[in-house]
Structure formats: C-alpha cells, structure tokens
C-alpha cells in the first residue's frame, strides 16, 4: 500500500516542480534553428499530402524566420534530424496561430520537459524489471532525473535530451522484447527506434545491436537459423516502415546511392573550441575529450557508482568470455539470464559509443551534449553498482539503514546543487572544477544567460526608449530577446561587436577564438562591470556599462 502511494507521489512531485519552473529557463542555442526546421518539415509533409492551407501558413512562418535571422543554418542542408519534436511543435504553432515568441518558446520547454518526464517513468520500469530491489530502483530513477546537466537540459535541449528520452523508451521496449517476444513489443520497439533514428542517426544502433544479439542467440543454439532470419526480417521491416512513415528525409533518398544516405551525418563545422585551456578544431579534439567532460559534469557520487558499475560489468563480461565452452549451454555463454543479457546490452552500447567517440575523431562541441544519450547507460551502470553494494551490505549483514543514509546524504548534495544552479543546471560542474581551472573549459555553451542578461538591462532602463547592447562573446545574443515581452523587445537594439555604439556589453565568456591572441572580444576601457553572475565559482555571464 505504502509503495503504491510512494511512486505516484514521487513522480507527481517531479511533475509539479517541472510545471512550476519550466518558464525560468533561457532559450537554448539551437532552438531557433530547430523551430525553423519544424516549419521546413511541415511545408514538406503538407506539400506531399497536398494540404495547402497549412503548407502556405507554415511557409510564411519559415520565410519570416529566414529573413529575421539569415545567419541560422540552412534547413535545406540540415534536413536530416529532429523531425518528430520540431514538426509537431511547428504544427501546433501553425494550427493554434501562436504569434507570441515568449509563448512558443515556453511551449517548446514545457513539451521537452514532459517528454523527459515520461521517459523517466519508462526508466523506472526498466530498473523495476531488472533489479527488483526498491532502494536501487528509487535511487536509480532519482539519478536519472536529478543529474544536474540533464535536469537543466530537459527544459530547453529539444534535440539531445529528446533523443535521450526516446532512446530510453525504445530501450524499455527492447528489454520487453528480450523478455517476451511478441508482436506488440516488436511494433513498439521498432516505432520508438525509428523515432530515435530520425531524431539522431545514432538511434540506428538499436535494431542493429538487437539483431546482433539475436545472432549470438543463434550461435548459442538458443534459436534456429530460420527463426533468427524471420525475427531479423520482421524487426527490419517494421523499423524501416516506421522510419519511412514519418521521416521525409527518406522519401527523397536515391536507392542506388546508398553511400550518400549517410554522408550528411558526417558533416562538421569549421570551428574551434576551448578544451582544457587550449583551442582545438572540433574534428581533432583530444582523445579523452568525452571521458573528461563526463567526469567533470557528473556529480561525483554518480560518477563513482558508474565507474564501479561499468568495471564490474566488464569483469562479468570478461569472465563469461573466457569461460565460453562449446557444448555447455546456457551457463557458459555471454549471459545466463535475461537480466544478464540486459546488462551485456548496456555494456555493449556504452563501450561501442565510448570507443566510437574516442577513436573515430567525432566532431563535438558544447561540452558533451551530443552524447547526453549515454546518460541512460551511465545511470543503468550506476544502478548496477548500487545493486552490488546492497548485496554486499546484506551478505555482510550490515545495517541497510547506513546504506540508505549514505545515499540520502549524496542525494541531498545533488538537490542542493540543483537549487543553487537554478536555472543554469545545464552549466553544472562538479567539485573537480574550481575557481582556477574553470577558465580552461567553456561554460554557457547553450547561451542560456542571454535572456536573463537582457531582462536585467531592461530593468535598469525602464524609462528609456532605446537601449544599445553589444555582445563580447560567440553567442547569437539577439535571439535571447524572444523571451522578452513584445514592448521590451522593441527597446533593445543589437550592435554586435560595435562597442562604440553600445550602452551595455554582455559576455558569457564563450569564444570561438583564443582571446589571448585575438582581441575582438576585449571589453573597452570605458566600460565598467556592473553585474557578474557566478554560481559555485562558475562564471555564467557579465554585463558592462559605459561609464562616460
């Protein structure tokens, strides 16, 4: 009875907190482009369907975005990801004729949060089906929700966290499929795997790895070849069907130019980013870029559990590997139970993506947000470790209360960090980063502070008709005004890096050039810093005012 109330209460509290704070967040750096992409898709889809009314209205909106901000990336080129979220939101915006920029960006934030909220329920179910122990399930679900960077991004990162959410749901159905091979599970798995793929191409690994696992089953003589072939074909058919159904990028592909299908996914910008005190081209980042970023932005407690869990998974896998014997099954194989098979699936997924990121020169920027989907594997590994620790506690007959207390302390620390960083949880760094070494890493890469900075400048100039603002950082500052009220937006005039014309200069310390060598973002001497936002030694943004 207690359990029946506890879980819904937990999720209800989380939902209410999300609904209460979703409009505190700034606009993410990609949101304008994604909004534009949504209309691009809508125009495409309704052109195919021949529905002119929606198509014409969406086209007008698409063109108005292009003319308002011609610097946004061209949707005709970047037309290969993000269809589900962006086009749905663009459709809502078109049908309900939402004309207020503040409203449509807040709607995006709310939707993004709700999708992540739903995914957290699926993650709870994944843990519940795997671990059976309530403490592990509750803690694991809490970690999934409360990891500060993911918590913050769940409100504004409609691409990477959306992909993480869909991946989690797809993973749930994949695990269901491992338990019970029926049509319902196949269809739901393929549906969510297809949505994941159209959001980020990485989603393609889901059916492929699943088929690889089927192949291992066949090798272990758990299924016949005919059965393996039938299952593979069924999975691929449903997957391609769902992908084709909702992904216009596929509609225009030339079947004879297979190689070209994937070439677009390997495009990268000619850009340099700050990492560990040096500026690197995004295609030639140091090999440890991803592991280091994960290590400095994940709460230490979760990080340690993850490392422990991953090492124990590796140990188990290695032991299984060296003990494989030809005629003694099923014990002497990669797995002896469905639970173990799930663990191996997570281990394979995580290892493959880490090796991919480390060895294959993957272009990355803005920290590790392109790999935020690893969060689901990281937390699964952490829960795996918790489960092991709890088993040890029980074996040694330690009091479980201590185990609960230790975890409660760490959860409280994470909660404290979440509240102190609000609404900049996306810029969280753990205690490995301090006042000195924070200079070596970029902070406000999603440009979340833009709107807050503008609101502050407006609050200082309530009676002014025009306020000239400049931007001393590599961030599309002008886009931050879309969270302001209409009359406030009209007051602000953006002058780029033309500091002579500016009344105020904003910087979030994010640069695409090395400021030690290139002086274009140097603040002129006739400006004085009037505001600097620092959270736990992490500088978020500064505002300077002309002094004469």
């Amino acid at each position: 009875m207690k359990k029946k109330i506890l879980i819904p209460t937990f999720f209800l509290i989380y939902l209410f907190i999300g609904l209460f704070i979703y409009n505190d967040y700034g606009i993410g750096i990609e949101e304008h482009f994604q909004r534009q992409n949504g209309f691009y898709w809508i125009v495409k889809i309704f052109s195919y369907l021949g529905v002119d009314s929606i198509k014409i209205h969406s086209l007008e909106l698409y063109q108005s975005i292009r003319s308002y901000d011609p610097n946004l990336p061209d949707s005709n080129f970047f037309n290969y990801y993000g269809i589900t979220f962006d086009s749905t939101l663009a459709f809502v915006e078109t049908v309900f004729k939402i004309n207020n920029s503040k409203l449509y960006f807040e709607l995006r934030h709310l939707t993004s949060f709700i999708i992540f909220f739903i995914s957290s329920i699926f993650f709870y179910k994944i843990l519940k089906n795997r671990f059976k122990n309530d403490i592990v399930i509750y803690l694991g679900t809490s970690f999934y929700i409360l990891n500060p960077r993911i918590f913050g991004d769940s409100f504004h990162n409609n691409k990477d966290v959306f992909f993480l959410s869909i991946l989690t749901i797809a993973l749930f159905y994949l695990f269901q499929l491992l338990e019970k091979n029926n049509t319902k599970n196949i269809i739901l798995f393929c549906l969510f795997a297809a949505i994941a793929t159209s959001s980020r191409i990485m989603g393609i690994y889901l059916p492929l790895l699943f088929i690889f696992f089927l192949f291992l089953d066949y090798l272990s003589q758990k299924i016949f070849f005919g059965n393996f072939l039938k299952k593979t074909l069924t999975i691929l058919s449903f997957y391609i069907f769902f992908l084709y159904l909702h992904y216009p990028y596929m509609w225009e592909l030339n079947i004879f130019k297979f190689i070209e299908w994937f070439s677009v996914y390997f495009y990268n910008m000619d850009l340099k980013i700050l990492y560990s005190g040096e500026y690197y081209h995004i295609k030639y980042l140091p090999k440890l870029y991803l592991p280091v970023w994960i290590s400095i932005t994940t709460p230490i407690f979760i990080l340690l559990l993850f490392i422990g869990g991953y090492l124990f998974m590796f140990k188990r896998f290695f032991q299984r590997l060296i003990n494989i014997k030809l005629n003694t099954m099923p014990i002497h194989d990669f797995w002896s139970s469905v639970s173990e098979k799930k663990d191996i699936f997570i281990f394979f997924s995580l290892t493959s993506f880490l090796l991919y990121a480390i060895f294959l020169n993957v272009a990355m920027l803005s920290g590790w947000r392109h790999f935020y989907f690893l969060h689901v594997f990281i937390i699964y590994a952490a829960a795996y470790m918790l489960n092991l620790l709890l088993t040890i506690f029980k074996k040694k007959k330690f009091n479980i209360l201590y185990f609960k207390l230790i975890n409660l302390v760490f959860i409280s620390i994470i909660l404290f960090d979440l509240s102190s960083f609000h609404p900049y949880q996306s810029l969280y760094f753990n205690s490995l980063i301090n006042k000195e070494n924070i200079k070596n890493f970029p902070v406000d890469t999603p440009s979340l502070s833009r709107s807050d900075a503008l609101k502050y400048i407006i609050s200082l100039n309530k009676t002014e008709d025009k306020i000239f603002v400049s931007n001393a950082s590599w961030t599309p500052f002008h886009n931050g005004k879309d969270l302001l009220k209409d009359y406030e937006q009209k007051k602000i005039i953006f002058v780029g890096q033309d500091y002579n014309k500016a009344d105020y200069i904003y910087t979030n310390f994010n640069y695409e050039v090395d400021p030690r060598l290139n002086k274009k973002y140097n603040i002129p001497k006739d400006f004085k810093e009037i505001k600097k936002v620092i959270i736990s030694d992490i500088p978020i943004y500064s505002i300077y005012k002309r002094i004469n």
Binding site: L219, Y279, Y284, I324, L326, F359, N361, V513
Partner: protein, 87 residues
C-alpha cells in the same frame, strides 16, 4: 562456428584498438598539428611576434651586429651588381 565467430570478433576489435592507439594516434596527432598551424589565431600570433620584434629592434642603437652588417652589405652589393648587369 560459434567459437570461430567469437574469436573473429575479438580479434577484429583487438586489431581496431591496436591500430587506433598506434598508427591511428600518430596520424591523428599530425592532423591536429596541421590544423593548428593553419589556424587564423596562429597567423595572428606570428604577425604579432614579428611586429614585437620589429618594435624591439627599432629601440636598439644598432639592429645588426658587426658580422651581420658586413654580410648584408656584401649581399646588397651583389644583388645591386646583378640587377645592374640586366641592362
């Protein structure tokens, strides 16, 4: 068949990792270096360096030492004579 496939997969993964940490890493370092040499910041750095050296040189009483002066004078004379011989 099963053992063969497992061994094959392990060997392929092993070769991939071995290649990446040896030859792959050397190639990667070279590419990384090339990109940093090519960069705008690097050319700005070189320009600044030359500018600083010129300013420092102008502040001195004599830019060249005795040996260099003789060498440059000889070179100048030779170039001058060669150019004169053109006509």
């Amino acid at each position: 068949m099963r053992i063969f496939v497992y061994k094959f997969l392990i060997i392929v993964t092993g070769i991939f990792i071995l290649y990446q940490v040896t030859i792959g890493y050397t190639v990667f370092k070279l590419q990384q270096k090339l990109f940093s040499l090519n960069s705008k910041e690097n050319s700005i750095f070189v320009k600044d360096k030359i500018r600083k050296e010129l300013i420092a040189g102008l502040k001195k009483d004599k830019i060249f030492n005795e040996k260099d002066r003789i060498l440059i004078k000889k070179l100048y004379k030779k170039i001058y004579l060669e150019l004169q011989s053109l006509n």
